[in-house]
Symmetry: C2
Subunit: 174 residues, 2 copies
DNA sequence: GGTTACATGTAAGATGTTACATGATTAG
DNA sequence: CTAATCATGTAACATCTTACATGTAACC
């Protein structure tokens, strides 16, 4: 199987909001999206070219000032279809590059049925994960002595539990 | 500049704890380290070869059963030096693949001076980040209407704040 | 005897980063 | 006029994933 190419879906999601230049897209990773995903312009421009070939997006040109012509990209019907298919796929509980949060970012409607489904399945995943982590903590660091003997590892496990626990609480509040 | 090659340092850190086979190292990413970093055996075996060429590690062979000979890798003095240099470098506040946590995992001593320094500098980074996120929330979602209009984005920002806030609390407890 | 875990590798391709390159426009 | 930002690309390299490939050892 090929790799996920999640960047492609982020671009589709951003263009689904509105027409954007490669520069605009790159900037999005410095602010909002940057919270949970990263990409450089050198990755974005070639991908835009490829996505246009694949007919997920098109572009129109905009004259700026005297000489500069910028390309503003637009999502096609095919692109919209691909994007929605991705949104509806289940997301793994990965810690780095959280795909669930990525999808969530693109859900506009608070009452969406898809949102409800996504949250329920993510909540199950994260609750399981939390309980496994708690088991691990009890198993590996049952007493003060073991915690002190390998303090960094202990802290990291505590962090993972705190993170998952916060994640679960946050999910419950959605 | 070349890329970070953090995996190399994780391997050094694990071998610094004790001699391990490629298989053992790969397994570490299914449990402990897997909480915040990932790697497959197909990435590990070639890297071990390269690290041995670079004299950061060596290996000795262990006879298992009748036929199987496994390679157990050991860190060299040079490897230990490289590892400690990495530990002492400042860590960025990246969300995916958290390098700070990665380093922390390898700190054994709760009273280590390095730990103290690392935590202080990370706390500063994360506190700044949290306040930027809170500014963003106030700026982008000042009222209920704006929150409902773009619910996913709102949730994601709330998540980032909750995450950073939990991170800061956790750091303070170290 | 069969299944699961141990054990080690390579190959092809996808993805991501850093550096190289260039030039226009805007705000002060 | 000058600095920051806008704007678009390529090249080289590093990293990571998936699939291919093979065989042993331990447990039931």
């Amino acid at each position: 199987m090929a790799q996920k190419n999640r960047l492609q879906y982020i671009i589709l999601g951003l263009l689904n909001i509105g027409s954007k230049t490669g520069y605009d897209l790159a900037k999005a990773f410095d602010s909002d999206i940057g919270e949970f995903w990263s990409a450089n312009h050198s990755q974005i421009y070639p991908l835009l070219k490829k996505m246009e070939q694949d007919e997920m997006i098109t572009h129109h040109e905009i004259q700026v000032g005297q000489k500069l012509v910028k390309k503003s990209y637009d999502i096609t019907d095919q692109g919209k279809k691909n994007f929605h298919e991705w949104l509806e796929e289940p997301s793994e509980a990965d810690n780095s590059h959280d795909e669930f949060i990525l999808k969530l970012y693109f859900i506009k409607d608070a009452n969406s049925e898809l949102l409800e489904e996504m949250v329920v399945s993510q909540l199950e995943l994260r609750t399981d994960k939390l309980s496994h982590l708690q088991d691990q903590l009890a198993d590996k660091f049952p007493d003060q002595a073991s915690q002190q003997a390998n303090y960094g590892h202990y802290c990291v496990l505590k962090h993972a539990i705190q993170r998952e626990s916060g994640y679960v609480d946050w999910l419950k509040g959605i």
